[in-house]
C-alpha cells in the first residue's frame, strides 16, 4: 500500500540526477542496537541540505547526494537517540552507512501535547506529566480520573468511594481555592469538556460528568502543571489542565483489536462493628452505669465509691430487674431482639464485564479509527449498578497537498442505578442506625419498618434512582497549510450531555410514594483558529510562533417534575401522579479568548518560551471583563554543552525555570450580578427580594507560580527523573466578606483570599534490568506540598471559613481544611467521663485575646481536667482550636514493571502521608450509646471501673456526647497496593498461527492490600457534598461514606 520511500526520494531528487548521469548515492540500513531489528520510518537527513527521507520496512534508506563529497548524516527516530556520522562518497558511486540506534530511555524526541500545539519532549520548558494509554487501560476503576492516581508527581488523586459511577478528586499542586472549583480543566482533543456533578443531591454520592470517558479511547494524557504550561489556558488554567488526546487512525493496514474482561468486585475493607450480643451487653451496661451514677449522687450514698454502688446494684434483684426491664430501641428486649448482620444484607459480591472492538488504519491520505466499548458493573452495594456504551469514530483526510480535514464523533450512553449511601441512609444506615437487634423482615415477611428511620435493605432494594446520560461529543478541524512552515487550523467541537433521572420511592419505604423525573441538558461548544508558524528553522536557531483565538459557550437547562398520590402501587412515574410539581433551572456562560506563544531554541540547548492569553468571560464583573495571563519560561539543556558531552554518569541534564499567571474562572455564572430573586411569596402571590449584592469588580481567582526543575538522566539514562520546586500563590480568591446585615445583605463576594502551595516534586525511573529475556523497571514519585492560608480578607474570626460539616475550616496561618475542634484530653480514670482541653486565653499583640493551642499542647493534669468542684470539664464550643488537616504532606506512587520472556507483571503502590481523617460519624459509632447507633469494636475499650486508663468514656444512655472532638481525628497515612497485574502474551509464532498478531491474557487485582492505622472503612475517602467549597474541604472527612472497591479482573486482548 505504501509507496516505498526510496522511490519517492528518487523521484524527488531526480533533478540532481540529471547533471551527474551516474548516480551518487548514500544508502544503508538503520537497526536497533540491542535487538538488531530493522527500524522502519526513521528519518535520515543530510545536515545543511534538504536531502533526506524515511527508512523502509526493512530499515533501508537510500539518498541521492548529487555529487561526491563528505556528508554529515543524522538519523532520528522516536524512542531512539539521535545519531550523526560523516560519510564520504565519490562521484557516481554509492557509499554505504549502517546505523545501530540506541534506545532513548528518556524519549526526548517523543511528542508532548501542549496547549494549542505539540512539541518534542526535549524542547519542553514547562512542567508536564504524561500518562500513556498502556498505564490506564484494562484497569477497572470507578472513574477515569482515578486512573491517574500515583502516576505523576504533583497530581493528587483520590477516588471518593468505590460505588459505581462516582467521581474522584484531582488536585494539581495542592488545592488552589477555597470557594471555587479546584478540579483541573479537562480538554479532550482541544475541546474543554463539561465536568462536575449534575445529579440531584440528597443521596450522598456525587455523580460524575467525566465518567463517559472511555480509557480505551485515550492515547495519552498530559497534565499541565506550572504556569508556563497552563497560562495558555488563561482564566481556566490555575488548577492545572488535563489534556486528553484520543486515539486516531494511523498509517498502515487495518488493525483490529478486541478484548473482553470479567471481574468480581467487593468492598476493599469491612468496618469492625459489634455483633448482636455484644451490642445488647453494651446497652445494658450503659443502663447500669446510669443507675449507678444516679444512685451515687443520692445524699444517702455520699462518699460511696463507684465500685461500692455498682456492687450494691449487682447484688440487688430489684435493681437488676429495673435494668433488665429497660426496653432497647424500638421496644426490643433481649427476648424479642433479632440478630441481623446488616452489612451482609446490604453488601454483595459485584462484578464487571467489559468488551471492546477497535478497527483502525489508514493510507497516506485517509486515516480512520473506530471503537466501541461496553462496560457493565454490578456494584458491591445492593442496588448499585452502572453500565456504559461508548462508540467513537474518527476520520482524518488529506484533502489535497495544502488542506487537511478531520472529524471525530463519540456517542456514549451511561446508565447508573444510584442508591442512598452515607448520611442519606441506605448503606450508610446499615452500620449506624440499623442495630443488629432489628429484623429485616417482620413476622408477616414484609420489610420491617422502624417507627422512625428506615430499613436499609428495603431502601436499597426498592428505591429507584436511575440516571441515564447520553453524551454526544464531536469535533472537527480544517488545517490549511499556507506554506511549508505556516499553517492555520480551524476547529470546532460540541459537547452535548443529556441526563435523565428517574426516581421513585415506593410504598415499602415511604408512606407517601414520590416520583421524580428530572432532565438536565448541558451544551457546550468551542470554536478556535490557531496559526502555527515555524518562523526560523536553522541549525542554531529555531523559532516557532502560535497565535489564535477561541470562543466557548456553555448552557445548562434543568427541568423536572415531582409527583405524589398515585392511584395504586403500580404507577410509579410522575405521569400517573395526582399531584405534580414542576421546577426549572437554567444557567449559561460565555468565554472569548486570544492567545499567543513563541518559543525560541538557541544552539539546541537554550530554550525560551513566552505565552500570553486574554480571556473575556461573562462570569467576570462588568468592570473587569477581560483578564490577561502571561507566562515565561527558560530551559538549559546542560548535557548538550561541551563540558558534559560524553559524560558517562550524567548523560542528560536540563534545568527549567518558569513564572507566570493563570486564573480560575470556576466562580459561578452570575456571582457578580446584583439581582432580585424569586420565591418570597406572600398570601399566595409571587414575591421577589433583593438576593445578591452586586460586585462589578468581581474577577477570576488568580494564581502566580514559580517553577524550578531539573530533568536528568544518569548512567546512559538507565536512571532518569526530575526534581522540581514550585511556589504557587493563589490570590484574589473569592470569599464571602461580611457586610453589615443591616444593609439587607449578609455578605458580598470579593476577590480577597490568599493561599500558598509550595512543594517539591520528585520522580525517578530506573531500568533495573534490561536483557532481551528479562526487563525490570521501577518508577517512583513523591510530592511534598505545604499549604497555608495567607489571608481571608476581612474575615478575622478565629474559626475562619467553614468548609462543611465536621468543623473543617480555612483558618489564616493554617493549612486549608484544618480541623477546628475541641481537643479531647481522654477519659478521667476515676469517673470514666470524657475530659477536654480548655485552651488558656492569652493577650495577643493587639491586646485582643487569642487562644493558644490547648495549654500549649501539654496534656491536662487530672486536677486541671476538673473544675473547682471536682467535676470533669464538659465540652464547650469556645474551646475549639485548629488541629489536624486533611491534605497530606506527601503523596505519590511506586510502580514496578517486570517482563520475563512472554510474562509481564506490574505492581503499583500508592501512598499518602501526613494527613488526618475526621470521622464525623465516630462521635456516634464509638462509645455513644445515647444515640442508639451500632458501635465500632473500639467501643469495647470503654471505661468500666475506677482507675482504668482508656480513651473511650463510660457508656451512658443519657447525656449528649454527640460532639466534635479530636478523639475522632485519625492518622490518615496509607500505603495501598493499587494494582497488581500478571499478563502472558502468546509467542508470536503461536499467535500468528492462530491468526492473531498479539494475544494477551491477564489478571488484574485492584486495591488488594492497604496498610493504614485508620480504624474506619477506608483511608481513601472523600465525603460527598454539593457545592465547591464543601467539596474542596471534605477530602479526608467521612460520615458513613462507603469504602473503595476491591476488584479481581481477568481479561484477554487480541490484535489482528
Amino acid at each position: 500500500m505504501r509507496i516505498p520511500y526510496a522511490l519517492l526520494l528518487a523521484f524527488m531528487f531526480s533533478c540532481s540526477g540529471i547533471i551527474a548521469m551516474a548516480q551518487t548515492m548514500i544508502s544503508g540500513k538503520i537497526t536497533d542496537r540491542k535487538s538488531n531489528e530493522p527500524l522502519k520510518g526513521a528519518t535520515v537527513r543530510v545536515d545543511g541540505t534538504t536531502m533526506g527521507g524515511l527508512t523502509a520496512k526493512d530499515g533501508s534508506f537510500s539518498i541521492k547526494v548529487g555529487k561526491g563529497g563528505t556528508y554529515k548524516l543524522s538519523v532520528n527516530f522516536v524512542g531512539y537517540k539521535k545519531q550523526s556520522r560523516t560519510i564520504s562518497v565519490k562521484d557516481g558511486e554509492t557509499a554505504s552507512a549502517v546505523f545501530n540506534l540506541e534506545a532513548d530511555l528518556l524519549k526526548l524526541n517523543e511528542t508532548v501535547v501542549v496547549g494549542y500545539g505539540t512539541t518534542q519532549k526535549r524542547d519542553v520548558t514547562g512542567s508536564y506529566a504524561t500518562v500513556k494509554s498502556e498505564e490506564i487501560v484494562n484497569r477497572p476503576a470507578p472513574s477515569f480520573e482515578s486512573l491517574l492516581q500515583g502516576r505523576s508527581p504533583g497530581v493528587q488523586v483520590l477516588q471518593s468511594n468505590g460505588m459505581a459511577g462516582t467521581a474522584a478528586t484531582v488536585r494539581v499542586r495542592g488545592v488552589g481555592s477555597i470557594s471555587a472549583n479546584t478540579q483541573p480543566l479537562y480538554v479532550v482533543d482541544g475541546v474543554p469538556i463539561t465536568t462536575g456533578d449534575f445529579g440531584s443531591g440528597s443521596i450522598a454520592t456525587n455523580s460524575n460528568a467525566l465518567s463517559f470517558l472511555n480509557p480505551n479511547d485515550i492515547e495519552s494524557i498530559d497534565i499541565l502543571k506550572d504556569a508556563a504550561a497552563t497560562a495558555i489556558y488563561g482564566s481556566r488554567g490555575a488548577n492545572g489542565v488535563v489534556l486528553i488526546t484520543t486515539k486516531r487512525g494511523k498509517l498502515g493496514a487495518a488493525r483490529i483489536s478486541m478484548g473482553v474482561s470479567q471481574g468480581i468486585k467487593t468492598e476493599a475493607n469491612r468496618l469492625d462493628i459489634v455483633d448482636r450480643d455484644t451490642w445488647i451487653n453494651l446497652f445494658y451496661e450503659a443502663r447500669r452505669n446510669d443507675v449507678v451514677d444516679s444512685l451515687q449522687k443520692l445524699p444517702v450514698n455520699k462518699g460511696k465509691s463507684w465500685t461500692n454502688v455498682q456492687g450494691m446494684i449487682d447484688t440487688s434483684t430489684t435493681w437488676q430487674n429495673i435494668i433488665n426491664n429497660t426496653r432497647m430501641p424500638q421496644g426490643f428486649t433481649r427476648e424479642t431482639a433479632a440478630n441481623t448482620n446488616w452489612l451482609n444484607q446490604t453488601l454483595r459480591t459485584g462484578n464487571t464485564q467489559e468488551a471492546y472492538l477497535t478497527i483502525s488504519g489508514g493510507s497516506e491520505t485517509t486515516k480512520y479509527y473506530f471503537n466501541t466499548t461496553y462496560f457493565n458493573e454490578k456494584g458491591f452495594i445492593v442496588g448499585n449498578d452502572y453500565q456504559r456504551i461508548n462508540t467513537r469514530i474518527t476520520l482524518d483526510q488529506k484533502a489535497n497537498d495544502w488542506l487537511d480535514i478531520g472529524v471525530s464523533f463519540n456517542a456514549n450512553r451511561e446508565e447508573n442505578n444510584r442508591v442512598n449511601s452515607a448520611w442519606a441512609g441506605g448503606f450508610g444506615n446499615a452500620f449506624s442506625a440499623s442495630l443488629p437487634i432489628f429484623p429485616v423482615y417482620d413476622s408477616t415477611g414484609a420489610y420491617w419498618r422502624p417507627q422512625t428511620g428506615l430499613n436499609p435493605v428495603a431502601d436499597l432494594e426498592n428505591r429507584r434512582f436511575l440516571a441515564t446520560t447520553w453524551r454526544l461529543f464531536g469535533n472537527g478541524y480544517a488545517q490549511v497549510n499556507l506554506a511549508d512552515n505556516l499553517n492555520i487550523r480551524f476547529s470546532g467541537g460540541v459537547d452535548f450531555m443529556s441526563l435523565r433521572e428517574d426516581r421513585f420511592a415506593p410504598i415499602v419505604i415511604t408512606a407517601d410514594p414520590t416520583a421524580e423525573e428530572r432532565r438536565v441538558q448541558v451544551v457546550n461548544w468551542t470554536t478556535n483558529a490557531i496559526l502555527s508558524w515555524k518562523a526560523l528553522d536553522l541549525e542554531d536557531h529555531q523559532l516557532t510562533v502560535v497565535g489564535g483565538m477561541e470562543s466557548q459557550r456553555s448552557e445548562q437547562r434543568d427541568l423536572g417534575t415531582t409527583g405524589n398520590t398515585f392511584p395504586n402501587n403500580y404507577f410509579t412515574t410522575p405521569q400517573s401522579a395526582s399531584v405534580r410539581n414542576g421546577y426549572a433551572f437554567g444557567t449559561e456562560f460565555g468565554l472569548i479568548s486570544y492567545l499567543a506563544r513563541t518559543s525560541y531554541t538557541l544552539m539546541d540547548r537554550y530554550l525560551f518560551s513566552l505565552s500570553i492569553r486574554t480571556d473575556g468571560s461573562s462570569r467576570f464583573g462588568e468592570n473587569n471583563r477581560y483578564g490577561f495571563f502571561p507566562a515565561g519560561s527558560f530551559a538549559w539543556i546542560m548535557s548538550n554543552e561541551d563540558f558534559l558531552k560524553g559524560n558517562d554518569v550524567l548523560t542528560f541534564a536540563k534545568i527549567r525555570a518558569s513564572y507566570g499567571i493563570s486564573g480560575n474562572a470556576a466562580i459561578g455564572d452570575f456571582t457578580w450580578q446584583g439581582v432580585y430573586s424569586t420565591g418570597s411569596n406572600y398570601n399566595g402571590n409571587p414575591g421577589t427580594m433583593p438576593g445578591q449584592l452586586p460586585n462589578s469588580d468581581l474577577t477570576w481567582e488568580t494564581s502566580r507560580q514559580l517553577d524550578l526543575g531539573i530533568d536528568f538522566g544518569l548512567f546512559n539514562d538507565r536512571i532518569s527523573g526530575s526534581i522540581g520546586y514550585y511556589d504557587r500563590m493563589s490570590y484574589g480568591m473569592l470569599l464571602n466578606e461580611r457586610v453589615p446585615s443591616s444593609s439587607g445583605f449578609s455578605s458580598v463576594i470579593n476577590n480577597v483570599g490568599e493561599m500558598s502551595n509550595t512543594g517539591i516534586e520528585f520522580n525517578i525511573r530506573s531500568v533495573n534490568i534490561s536483557t532481551p529475556e528479562f526487563e525490570w523497571t521501577t518508577d517512583f514519585n513523591i510530592t511534598y506540598n505545604v499549604n497555608k492560608i495567607i489571608s481571608l480578607g476581612t474575615i478575622t474570626n478565629p474559626d475562619g471559613v467553614d468548609l462543611g460539616f465536621g468543623e473543617t475550616r480555612a483558618i489564616v496561618g493554617y493549612p486549608f481544611a484544618s480541623f477546628f475542634i475541641v481537643r479531647s484530653a481522654g477519659v478521667d480514670p476515676e469517673t470514666g467521663l470524657p475530659v477536654y482541653y480548655r485552651p488558656t486565653t492569652v493577650a495577643g499583640a493587639d491586646g485582643k485575646p487569642i487562644q493558644n493551642n490547648g495549654l500549649n499542647g501539654r496534656p491536662l493534669t487530672l486536677e486541671e481536667a476538673r473544675d473547682s468542684l471536682g467535676v470533669p470539664l464538659a465540652w464547650n464550643a469556645t474551646w475549639r482550636v485548629p488541629t489536624g488537616k486533611n491534605y497530606p504532606d506527601f503523596f505519590g506512587g511506586i510502580t514496578n514493571t517486570f517482563r520475563y520472556e512472554n510474562f509481564d507483571f506490574t505492581t503499583q503502590f500508592v501512598y499518602q502521608i501526613g494527613n488526618t481523617i475526621y470521622d464525623d460519624a465516630g462521635k456516634r459509632l464509638v462509645g455513644n450509646m445515647g444515640f442508639s447507633w451500632n458501635q465500632m469494636t473500639k467501643t469495647l475499650d470503654r471505661w468500666t471501673e475506677p482507675g482504668q486508663e482508656t480513651d473511650v468514656p463510660r457508656l451512658t444512655l443519657k447525656g449528649n456526647r454527640d460532639i466534635n472532638t479530636d478523639r475522632f481525628i485519625y492518622n490518615g497515612d496509607f500505603l495501598r497496593l493499587r494494582q497488581l497485574t500478571i499478563g502472558y502474551t502468546l509467542p508470536k509464532s503461536m499467535s500468528e498461527g492462530m491468526g492473531f498478531s498479539t494475544f494477551r491474557i491477564y489478571l488484574t487485582g485492584i486495591n488488594l492490600l492497604t496498610f493504614t492505622s485508620f480504624p474506619g472503612w477506608d483511608p481513601e475517602v472523600v465525603r460527598d457534598h454539593n457545592g465547591d467549597q464543601q467539596r474542596n474541604g471534605n477530602q479526608g472527612v467521612t460520615y458513613l461514606t462507603p469504602p473503595q472497591a476491591q476488584t479481581f479482573n481477568v481479561g484477554i486482548n487480541v490484535d489482528f
Binding site: R553, E588, I592, S618, T678, Y682, M689, S742, G744
Partner: protein, 454 residues
C-alpha cells in the same frame, strides 16, 4: 498561483465563519432565575411582586412569632422547657451575638427595609402606576419600614426614658437602598432619633394610605393603631390617646365575639393588621411549635406559676381560661396558636382599648370612660363588669391585670413591663442590660465599629 488564491479564500471563509460565531455576543448571557435590580422594579407588576416579597419578610418574623415568643421567655409568663440553645440563652438571660431568634429578626427586618428602600427609590420612575397607586405603595412601604424599625428598637434599645435625653443607642436607621458596597457600615441612631423616624414613617403612611381593609395588608387604620402603640411605648399619653381614640370613635373595629375568634377566624372585626398565612407560605408552624402540645410531649413554652396564679385569680367564668390556655397533666400551655394555620395578628383592637384606657387615665379622662374600655374586654371574656374600681393606682392595676390575661403570649408583656419600669422582669430591673438583645454577629462582623449593647 491558483493554489495560493484557494488557500487564501478558504482561510478567509473559515476565519469569517469563526469570527461570526465568536462575535455573536458570546459574553451576553441570560440569568434566567434572577433579575437585575432595574428589571425587578421596572413596572407596576414587578413593583407589586416586590411588595409581596417585602410582606413575606415581615411574615418571616412577625408572622412566625418573632420577636413575640422570645420576649415571652424574658417576660416571665412562660417557663421554657425546650432544648434549643438560642431560647436557652434568652431564658437564662444570657444572650449572645448568636441568639438566633433575635439575630434572625435583625437580619430579616433589614432585608425587608432594604427592599422597601429599593421600591421607594424606584417608585417615581414607574410609568404604568397612577399617582393614587404610587401613594398606596409608598404608604405601605413607609408603614412597614416604621413597623420593622420600631419592633427592632424595642428589642435592641433601652426603654424610652432610660436616659433623660434619650441619647442612648437605638437601632440603625436605613432609608436608602443598598446598591453597592461603599459606606455600608453606619452606626446606631439614638432612641430619640429612632422614634422620630418611626413616627415620621407612620405618619406618612397614615396620610398616604387609604382605609380599605384587606387582611394581611397595611391601611390607614393600621398606621393609626401603630402610632398609638408607638406613642404609648414612649409614654407619650396625649398622642397615644389621640390615635387610639380615632379608632375607638371611628367605629370600624370592635372586639370579636369570643376571645378565640380573633386568632382563628379571618376577616374578624378585631384584627387591625395581620400577617396573612396560606398553606404555601406557612410560617405559622414556628409560632405554633413554641406553644402547641404534640404527641411527643409538652411544648417548649408552658405557663409559668406566676401567670397561672394571675389566671386562677380571674373568675371561673373567664372564657380565656379555656380559650387561651389548656391544662395537660401537670402543666398548662397556651392555645392561641393551637391550629394548623391562621393569620397572625400584629396589632388588634383589644390592645387599642387598653391604650385608650391607660393613656386616657394618665391624661385625666373620666374614670367611667376608662372602665368602659376595660369592661368591653371583660364582657367579651364573660367576666363580670367592674364598675367599682376607682382611683388612678387601682385603675392602672386593673388595666395591667386585664391586659396581662388578654394579651398573654403575644409578645406584649415584656414591653409593658419595660414601659412601666418594672423592677422585676424575672428578677431583673427594666433597665437591666441583660434584657437587651445583643447586636448580632452578622452585623458586627461587617460593621466592626458599631456600638455594642453591654
Amino acid at each position: 498561483m491558483n493554489t495560493f488564491l484557494n488557500k487564501g479564500l478558504l482561510t478567509i471563509a473559515l476565519a469569517s465563519l469563526l469570527l461570526m460565531s465568536a462575535c455573536s455576543d458570546v459574553l451576553d448571557v441570560r440569568n434566567e432565575g434572577q433579575l437585575s435590580t432595574e428589571a425587578a422594579l421596572s413596572d407596576a407588576r414587578s413593583v407589586n411582586v416586590a411588595m409581596s416579597g417585602i410582606y413575606a419578610t415581615l411574615q418571616g418574623t412577625l408572622g412566625s412569632g418573632i420577636p413575640a415568643s422570645p420576649t415571652e421567655a424574658l417576660a416571665g409568663d412562660i417557663v421554657y422547657a425546650g432544648s434549643d440553645y438560642g431560647y436557652l440563652e434568652i431564658w437564662t438571660q444570657n444572650m449572645s451575638l448568636f441568639t438566633p431568634s433575635f439575630s434572625g429578626f435583625w437580619d430579616n427586618s433589614y432585608r425587608g427595609i432594604n427592599a422597601i428602600n429599593n421600591v421607594i427609590v424606584s417608585l417615581p420612575d414607574i410609568k404604568d402606576l397612577t399617582e393614587v397607586q404610587k401613594s398606596q405603595i409608598e404608604g405601605e412601604c413607609k408603614f412597614l419600614r416604621g413597623v420593622m424599625t420600631f419592633e427592632m428598637l424595642r428589642i435592641w434599645g433601652h426603654q424610652y426614658g432610660f436616659k433623660a435625653d434619650n441619647s442612648h443607642p437605638g437601632v440603625i436607621v436605613r432609608t436608602a437602598p443598598t446598591r453597592g458596597t461603599a459606606g455600608l457600615a453606619i452606626g446606631r441612631s439614638s432612641v430619640e432619633d429612632c422614634y422620630a423616624q418611626v413616627i415620621s414613617d407612620l405618619k406618612s403612611a397614615e396620610s398616604l394610605l387609604p382605609d380599605t381593609k384587606r387582611d394581611g395588608y397595611a391601611n390607614k387604620s393600621a398606621a393609626i393603631a401603630y402610632l398609638a402603640r408607638v406613642y404609648f411605648q414612649k409614654n407619650d399619653f396625649t398622642n397615644a390617646y389621640a390615635y387610639a381614640d380615632q379608632l375607638v370613635k371611628g367605629g370600624k373595629f370592635s372586639l370579636a365575639a369570643t376571645p378565640r375568634d380573633v386568632f382563628y377566624k379571618g376577616g374578624n372585626t378585631e384584627s387591625i393588621f395581620q400577617m396573612a398565612l396560606t398553606t404555601q407560605t406557612n410560617s405559622f408552624g414556628a409560632i405554633r411549635g413554641m406553644y402547641q402540645k404534640t404527641a411527643f410531649g409538652e411544648p417548649p413554652f408552658t405557663v409559668s406559676p406566676d401567670f397561672a396564679a394571675a389566671l386562677d385569680a380571674s373568675p371561673s367564668t373567664d372564657l380565656r381560661k379555656q380559650q387561651y390556655i389548656k391544662q395537660s397533666g401537670s402543666f398548662r400551655y397556651c392555645t392561641k396558636y393551637d391550629t394548623l394555620i391562621a393569620n397572625v395578628n400584629v396589632i388588634r383592637y383589644a390592645e387599642i382599648l387598653f391604650i385608650h384606657a391607660e393613656a386616657g387615665l394618665e391624661i385625666g379622662k373620666p374614670e367611667s370612660e376608662v372602665l368602659a374600655d376595660v369592661n368591653l374586654i371583660r364582657k367579651r371574656a364573660n367576666v363580670p363588669e367592674d364598675n367599682s374600681t376607682t382611683g388612678k393606682a387601682a385603675l392602672l392595676d386593673l388595666i395591667g391585670k386585664e391586659r396581662r390575661l388578654e394579651m398573654c403570649f403575644e409578645g406584649d408583656r415584656f414591653h409593658y413591663l419595660k414601659r412601666t419600669k418594672s423592677s422585676n422582669i424575672r428578677g431583673l430591673s427594666w433597665n437591666d442590660n441583660k434584657l437587651l438583645a445583643k447586636i448580632p454577629s452578622s452585623e458586627v462582623s461587617g460593621n466592626p465599629g458599631i456600638e455594642l449593647n453591654p
